[in-house]
Point group: C3
Chain length 360, copies 3
């Protein structure tokens, strides 16, 4: 800690500065557009960029904070706080009654991770390093957990769509399933923390930020993310109308990608560096957290807080798309090898699914 | 045989005595409740326990009988007689017009085996022995056979639900598919008998029961099981009403678990003993027999005997649930390793599916 | 080339002669039945046989031609011309407004290859050589590509059936998806050519036919195939009526098997010769080409040429059947071993699916 204070110059590396200053600038810009008339699109773009950058600052603060307490703590903190901006966006959107956007964004995040980002990481890694190896027990174990989680997540949708007597009870059923999912999250957390800490080269650097800076930035960025999420949701509806984008497409593609942009870049960068196993484990972690933590939490919070009630009854095409994406991801993992053509096909599949939602 | 007669004291081991006396007591109790007014729930519980214990006595008699003629014979006898109590229950239920109960119980047995029992065996085995190994060709071969069997089993449902012209012919189609399934059962029987007899440590003990005792107990227990199955079905309807349980839930959960209770315990006990491969093969054998033998046999018998006709057109949610469960089972097998968190997630998935059927 | 001319006697081997003379005879017979009244069934059978034999002559010409330019060229030519007869049949059927037949035939070809032909090859290979090995990275890679291709192929159907807003746009969506599929075909072509040329013992023989003969026969057989395809489609409708076959069943079973007969025989022959890996790669190549090349090409051509517009919105049961078949194929590949009982179960599954379509 003394070392940190005596060398403040090296405390923030260049990318820290970019994200911090960028986050401040974009937040200010997004705030200004709320009072200065600037059409429907500018406030939306400004707040989308601000959310993305603030999400990244939250992520960095968590990492710096966690490094002080060992990799297990980082994992726990990341689980608890890493999805904070997505949670804010979803809560404000639910408050504004945009249930379709939230549902599409939840599934869209899973799709974007499993098809688009994983596909990109295979294309980048495959073109640079040839066929990449995924042939580990750990990779298969995560894949199986994901298929189980998503399986549980989609049961209420199936029940409501194809089992008429369950339809009027979709809210009750969703809450019951959410509790099961949260219990499973708690049960699997120790295992995933252990996995994360065993990750080779995961945290090679010592913490750079003093404790006070890390806590302070985390607090400020989180509060700012909450405000900007509100602005983002407010700007979303006029922007959708101006750009003729349906609610489903906005959630599935725009919100899902904005909410995951930075962590997605990390996955692709790891693949470019030839660390395909680690890239896979980073990319697949996010859908797991959405299925086991974020979605059930939102269902319970939306009911407790009296917002428009979110249920786990998703539109049928979202259910079908997520099932296809999960099957793909698991087959590719079990394949043991990832090639760039597989990656290209996954991106093609993502484009095809996204195109289907163009007409809302 | 002479040895057996000279040592009658060791003929029945302690668990034999428990099941025999328990079976007699429960059967008598169930019979008494038919004449002595005892409300709607007591006769149901008594006959459920009696069926379960008689099923176990049938199973033990078959094993003792088979041991005289080698493991191949045991397998053949078990295939032929092991599902006898389930067959009785289903036939009496069809006679009583409870088609929904029978259909739910067939799928429910598959679900209970693949999710609940396999999940329990992973939790118990995993917590006691750490990650368990499933990495054998045989395990994968059984899993593929199961996915093929269940695939064939669900085609008539798909045809009736999504292919309108096939709807009025669902009975004809079901009979045609049943014949195909029975042919497949006959073709795969030699392979599964060979597998069973190659099972390490399968029958380490010599037969304890004299031939006459084994045959006699088998005959008595089978006849008793037939009677008690009738009482069980008769008691089912008033109990469902009294307990506010829907037909679908009663079949899926109550009947399915009552009909499989003892064999399920065996699977979990094997996992607890660290014999995960054998546990898997025992647990997955039952769904295979339901798909390839019991279900098609019931379709044909119900038509021949003039009972309410059973078809293979299951409600859509049952079809979706069984497809999810089979996919899970096969992914977990191919995974090559089973952990207790995977087991917990499978149990969670079972709870979620069962909850969906609460509203019948 | 001089060697070829000096030894014309060995230019055509016996099977060449059979196919050439058979093709000519069947073509003449099919032509005659167009002018001589011969009932509804004879012209249909004659033109079906003629199409099958001409398809085989096209295939042989392509192979002889390709052998001059190396295995890469053979692969490219086979991709371009191997599905020519199927393309002709489909185009004439679309011109005649038989959209259901074309859609069923496309899916039917995939089903016939993945279930019937692969099942037969497992039965034949398994009974002759015992369990066959499929345990290669290449096999798994092809299987994953196929699951991705078919995944993309079925998205428009899902969108139209379960996502109401997309329904009126099914034509636009189908064209967009077709373009994506064709791009994926172009991207994966180099890889599959490289795989084909690395195939052990693929072309052990030197070219037998002089260049002029190969080119000439290719041209003549292709033109003849075009004519006979027209006659086949014309004869199809009266034959369906006379034989009481529905359009869906005719496409799914009759057209699909007629269009693939010869290449299917090759796959089974390879399995009989104990070359299970090569048989698998031949059998699975055809569904890949249908999903990535033939189907999207037909969608675009039917729109460009102003025929009855073909979309990728298939009837739900076809979608469900193709998903089941693809899942089977991929599980069996990943299984690493193929047994004759697995093969028998696949054939059983094919019979069950075909039976469902009996009532059109």
């Amino acid at each position: 800690m003394t070392a940190d204070r005596s060398a403040p110059a090296s405390m923030f590396v260049r990318s820290d500065v970019v994200f911090l200053l960028g986050g401040v600038a974009a937040t200010v810009a997004a705030g200004v557009t709320r009072f200065v008339p600037s059409g429907p699109v500018v406030p939306f773009v400004a707040s989308a960029i601000a959310v993305t950058l603030l999400a990244s600052v939250v992520g960095r603060s968590v990492e710096q904070l966690g490094d002080r307490f060992g990799p297990g703590a980082t994992g726990a903190l990341q689980s608890a706080l890493g999805n904070l901006p997505e949670l804010f966006i979803a809560l404000f959107a639910l408050k504004a009654g945009l249930v379709t956007v939230v549902q599409s964004a939840l599934i869209g995040s899973i799709l974007a991770n499993l098809l688009l980002v994983m596909g990109l990481s295979f294309v980048v890694g495959g073109l640079k390093h040839g066929p990449q190896n995924l042939d580990s027990k750990r990779a298969r174990e995560i894949a199986v957990l994901m298929v189980l989680s998503v399986g549980a997540l989609v049961v209420p949708s199936l029940a409501a769509h194809v089992h008429t007597p369950a339809e009027p009870h979709e809210s009750t059923l969703s809450i019951a399933v959410s509790i099961v999912l949260l219990i499973l999250f708690a049960l699997t957390l120790p295992g995933s923390l252990k996995r994360a800490s065993a990750e080779p080269d995961r945290h090679s650097e010592p913490p750079r930020w003093p404790l006070a800076v890390a806590v302070g930035l985390l607090a400020i960025a989180s509060v700012a993310a909450a405000f900007v999420s509100d602005w983002f949701v407010t700007a979303l509806e006029p922007a959708m109308e101006a750009l003729h984008i349906s609610e489903a497409f906005a959630g599935l593609v725009v919100v899902a990608i904005a909410g995951n942009a930075i962590e997605n870049v990390v996955g692709v960068q790891l693949a470019a560096a030839g660390r395909s196993e680690y890239a896979f484990s980073v990319i697949i972690q996010s859908p797991l957290q959405i299925a086991l933590l974020l979605a059930p939490l939102l269902v319970i919070l939306s009911n407790v807080m009296g917002f428009t009630s979110l249920t786990l009854v998703f539109p049928p095409l979202l259910v079908a798309a997520v099932c296809i994406a999960v099957l793909m991801a698991v087959f590719i993992t079990f394949d043991g090898e990832s090639t760039w053509t597989e990656g290209a096909t996954m991106i093609g599949l993502y484009v095809v699914i996204a195109a289907s939602f163009w007409w809302g």
